[in-house]
């Protein structure tokens, strides 16, 4: 099973223009997180949504984000995190050091 990222890899969600059905919410676009695990490979919902085959299958990752990194006015603990399942084609390696 080929996967571009390993658990612990720092990734950034692509901030590309996109319309139609997709599973990457706007509030995560452009945000950096850490790969928590590889969930497996699944058919692409962006193709399945329009009657397509969804093939080739895409790697799906659980990515962990710091809540404070997502919400500027977040008042909870600095340790609070949010996990989101994101497909590989929505992720880039995160070049910046700081999350």
């Amino acid at each position: 099973m080929t996967a571009r990222f390993r658990p612990g890899a720092r990734v950034r969600v692509r901030d590309r223009h996109a319309q139609g059905h997709l599973r990457t919410p706007v509030y995560l676009r452009g945000k950096a997180g850490v790969v928590e695990r590889l969930c497996g490979r699944f058919r692409n919902p962006e193709s399945l949504a329009y009657g397509g085959s969804g093939l080739p299958e895409r790697a799906l990752y659980r990515v962990r984000f710091s809540q404070r990194a997502l919400w500027p006015d977040y008042r909870g603990s600095a340790d609070d995190t949010l996990d989101a399942d994101l497909y590989e084609h929505w992720l880039d390696p995160d070049e910046t050091r700081r999350r």
Binding site: D15, H17, A18, H21, V26, Y27, E46, L48, G51
Partner: protein
């Protein structure tokens, strides 16, 4: 069809609500009504291995395509059934006329509002 077009770069569907102001959340549980259970059953049967008439992602896409107004106005399972009907028409399984005729028939016998 589209709600917030504010940023050209980040097209945001009106269903993509994460982080948007929403007010208080009603956390009370409620029982499903019979009609809600029927909609759920219909969805499962239409997409099962025997029929394969629709995929969950198609259903989600059809819900997102109902329009911002319908998305606001309809309840959760009302969106489900509206999207199911649209998908079945789109796929040629049912026609609008057939659906309308059946609804009229059920109304006539007092079975639906």
């Amino acid at each position: 069809m589209m709600a917030a077009m504010g940023e050209a770069k980040r097209y945001r569907g009106y269903h993509d609500l994460g982080g948007a102001p929403a007010g208080a959340i009603d956390r009370a549980n409620h029982d499903y009504t019979l009609s809600e259970k029927r909609v759920d059953a219909l969805f499962v049967l239409l997409g099962d291995a025997k029929r394969r008439l629709l995929a969950v992602d198609e259903h989600r896409r059809a819900i997102e395509a109902l329009g911002a107004d319908a998305y606001e106005r309809l309840g959760y399972y009302e969106r489900w059934i509206a999207a199911l009907a649209n998908l079945l028409v789109e796929k040629g399984v049912l026609s609008r006329d057939e659906i309308a005729a059946r609804i009229a028939e059920i109304r006539a016998r007092g079975g639906a509002p």
